[in-house]
């Protein structure tokens, strides 16, 4: 986790690398999210100030697009592909299995900040359906049973880190 001070420095650096043009709003939000993992309210207000536009417009754009989130992600961010091929191959069952195993709902992060769960429309790996992505690693041809297996090593790692 980065401290609040580091975060505000990072945001300042991102802002200074862009021109004050409205077309830079989405790239700014993207860069902040890449750096911080989510969009804090305070930062969105800063961006509004920087681009000299009402904060509500920044909020409108940020909430319009699927990419942006407003809560921090877990260490092991998990995305479930809910594209057509994945759906036909049982994507719903995979999603349910993940919700059950991680004990969180889609869009949530668990209380320890370890796992977060998100659904995406299609990651374009349809020949490997159904797929999930855990911390940038694609797990192909999933079944509810394999979900359990795939999570074991990540769960062990979080245990190790704790102790």
């Amino acid at each position: 986790m980065i401290t609040e001070k580091q975060a505000s420095q990072a945001v300042a650096k991102i802002l200074s690398s862009h021109k004050k043009e409205k077309k830079n709003l989405i790239p700014l939000l993207q860069e902040v999210q890449t750096k911080l993992g989510y969009l804090p309210k305070k930062t969105m207000q800063e961006i509004a100030g920087f681009l000299e536009m009402p904060a509500v417009d920044v909020w409108g754009v940020a909430t319009f697009y699927n990419q942006f989130r407003f809560v921090p992600l877990g260490k092991y961010h998990t995305t479930v592909c809910m594209g057509t091929a994945c759906h036909l191959a049982g994507g719903r069952l995979i999603l349910e299995a993940l919700e059950r195993e991680l004990d969180i709902k889609v869009g949530e992060t668990d209380e320890n900040g370890n796992f977060s769960l998100e659904r995406v429309a299609c990651i374009g790996c349809c020949m490997l359906a159904p797929v999930i992505v855990i911390k940038d690693k694609i797990h192909p041809n999933m079944t509810p049973f394999k979900v359990e297996e795939a999570l074991v090593s990540y769960k062990q790692e979080t245990q190790r880190e704790k102790s």
Binding site: L29, Q30, N66, T84, A85, H87, L88, G124, P144
Partner: protein, 637 residues
């Protein structure tokens, strides 16, 4: 200022390519699909093994050669020897391949998918696979054979010569070639490309913009991703030609954020094109200048619509606006803007080089050239295919795709994603072109094709697409925002067994209203999956409504898992131990029984039940369960 001529660039690229051919080199397909299958581990394994053996052989990361089912794919190229393609390569076999074919002369054919040359004596001759016999690879031709991160590979294989030729032609002449070619927009709607270019060229206002739409949002479609990851320069070259014709100075490639590798490779390609003078203030010394920036999408399906896309580039909420005025007159920042799909731009250099008539010699009367499809779902060999327009769906699915996986029965094919329609077996012989597909109630769309088999429920599939469109509706038009939601509620009722027979007529009438009452393509086409499944698979809707039965046993509320007592081994406890909700009862030596109250219908028991027993089955309707099972009581034998 000193400028390098195209001839010099071309010569340099050709000699680099020729030098490469003098030695052995290894191609590994590392597009997103290859990576998902483990291609990066294979790359590492090759580098490690080559270093260990002290061999100087380059391992080149290439794009996709369309055989996604066989990923990770490796091709070993050797001077004066056959090029051999290996499928499903794992790091474990890498030392064997290096020892066998790099060091020695054993092509390891037992590990190979086939060869790219030869007479078939050495095993499969890949160009003669049924798939490639049907294909005509115009824009996929270089994919998987050149390094997408090395511009010289593209130039050495004919790249940027279309641009060089363009600079000696008049814009009118190029529009004339486009007109002769009959090229229509590959984004789905099929608007004649030359007319768009002409309109934008004639527009008086300046500056003008060129935008490439790479917001491939249809779930199940990935050909734009493959083109950008495997051979990005052809798209860039097409955009530069377009800018020359319409008189634009600035271009944008709008790529969806879900494609990080495509963004990375396009970024590298843009930088290299600038370095060689194909982009910049003075392109190839002609005095004409053009710049391209990437605009990364932030995840909104509606951004695929051109006016919504331009709003996104401007940094606003991505909502469409009425047309006319068309973007060619009033587009980005209210300036004339030419907007085309990735594949449309990719065809342009070829048409310039080889002429409009050549392009028009392929395809049908109304649809010229080739169509690029991605095939996924229940097809045996999923992947990409580029076929002449007019190829039938049957040829595409059965000969190129190898038929249905696991010997199942074909049920339907969905073309065009959430905007398209589901077509049944009876329509498989229609030719693929813009007009035939529209007549059948579907559409070309961007080219995503999903094959469904007997295990797929058509009502559930239609509900899935509608759910997608409802979530992605931007909310501007009432009928799209609320009408699709109302339709979705009805579809959910039907799949959950709460449907009424009059709901079917209500669905049809709502579908018509949503089509009429929506401004853009999203709403206008959102009802298509429901309309076509109702037209071609009405019996499935009726089974859900009247019998509370899901014929494919997919809809969870209408389906139950059941363990056949006479097949259950009793001694085995696989299902009991793996059931995530502890719904299966029965100790050692007892027949296992599923407690229907607790069952989450995840299917794990069916998956883990050893094939020699095969005791778990799915039943629909739920009322067909034996009464002993419904009560959840333990039955002893």
């Amino acid at each position: 200022m000193f400028t390098v001529t195209f001839e010099e660039i071309n010569n340099r690229a050709k000699s680099e390519w020729a030098a490469l051919q003098k030695g052995s080199y290894i191609l590994v397909g590392t597009a997103t699909c290859g990576r998902a299958a483990g291609a990066m581990d294979v790359v590492d394994a090759f580098n490690k093994e080559l270093t260990r053996q002290g061999l100087e052989v380059s391992v080149i990361q290439v794009g996709c050669i369309e055989l996604c089912y066989a990923d990770p794919l490796v091709t070993i190229c050797k001077p004066d020897s056959l090029r051999v393609v290996y499928n499903n390569v794992t790091p474990e076999v890498v030392p064997r391949l290096v020892e066998g074919y790099i060091v020695g002369d054993d092509p390891c054919l037992e590990l190979a998918l086939g060869t790219l040359e030869g007479d078939g004596e050495e095993g499969v001759y890949i160009p003669e696979l049924p798939k490639f016999e049907h294909e005509l690879r115009l824009i996929l031709g270089r994919c998987g054979y050149i390094d997408p991160e090395n511009i010289n590979h593209y130039v050495a294989n004919g790249g940027y010569s279309g641009l060089e030729k363009t600079l000696k032609m008049s814009p009118e002449k190029i529009i004339g070639e486009l007109k002769k070619s009959g090229l229509r927009g590959r984004g789905g709607a099929g608007f004649p490309t030359h007319r768009k270019w002409e309109l934008c060229g004639k527009a008086k206002s300046t500056p003008k913009y060129v935008i490439c739409n790479a917001d491939e949002g249809d779930p199940g479609a990935f050909m734009d991703r493959v083109v950008l990851e495997s051979d990005p320069h052809q798209v860039i070259e097409g955009m530069i030609i377009a800018s020359y014709v319409v008189g634009a100075e600035q271009g944008y490639i709008y790529v969806r954020a879900e494609y990080p590798l495509a963004i990375e490779r396009v970024q590298i390609a843009l930088k290299q094109a600038e370095e060689l003078g194909f982009l910049g203030d003075n392109i190839l010394g002609s005095g004409f200048g053009f710049h391209i920036e990437i605009a990364a999408g932030a995840g909104a399906f509606v951004s695929g619509e051109e006016t919504a896309l331009m709003a996104a580039v401007e940094g606003r909420m991505s909502t469409p606006r009425p047309r006319p005025p068309y973007p060619a007159e009033l587009g980005l920042w209210n300036k004339p803007t030419l907007l085309n799909n990735v594949k449309t731009f990719a065809y342009v250099p070829l048409i310039v080089k080889r002429g409009g008539n050549w392009f028009a010699s392929n395809g049908t009367v109304g649809s010229k050239g080739t169509a690029v499809f991605t095939m996924a779902g229940k097809v045996a060999n999923s992947g990409l295919a580029e076929v002449p327009m007019g190829t039938t769906l049957r040829e595409l699915i059965y000969e190129i795709g190898g038929g249905i996986a696991k010997d199942k029965q074909f049920k339907a094919v969905q073309i065009g994603g959430p905007s398209g329609g589901c077509l049944p077996e009876a329509l498989l012989d229609i030719p693929i072109d813009y007009d035939s597909l529209r007549e059948a109630g579907s559409m070309m769309g961007s080219g995503g094709m999903i094959v469904m088999d007997e295990d797929n429920c058509m009502v559930d599939a239609a509900r899935f697409f509608l759910d997608f469109s409802t979530k992605e509706s931007c909310g501007k038009c009432t009928m799209c925002r609320l009408g699709t939601l109302q339709m979705l509620n009805i579809m959910e009722d039907i799949t959950a067994g709460r449907g009424k027979i009059e709901d079917i007529d209500l669905l049809i009438s709502l579908a018509e209203d949503v089509k009429i009452g929506s401004l853009c393509g999203l709403g206008k086409t959102a009802p298509n999956p429901v309309i076509t499944t109702l037209r071609y698979f009405r019996d499935e809707y009726e089974a859900h409504v009247l019998e509370k039965r899901c014929p494919a046993r997919v809809c969870p509320e209408l389906t139950a898992y059941y363990i056949l007592p006479d097949k259950c081994d009793r001694a085995c406890e696989h299902c009991v131990l793996t059931c995530p909700t502890e719904a299966i009862k029965g100790g050692k030596g007892e027949v296992k029984i599923i407690d229907q109250e607790k069952c989450s219908k995840c299917g794990t028991c069916l998956e883990v039940c050893p094939p020699e027993y095969n005791a778990v089955v799915k039943l629909s309707p739920v009322s067909s369960l034996p009464s002993s099972n419904l009560s959840g009581k333990r039955a002893r034998k």
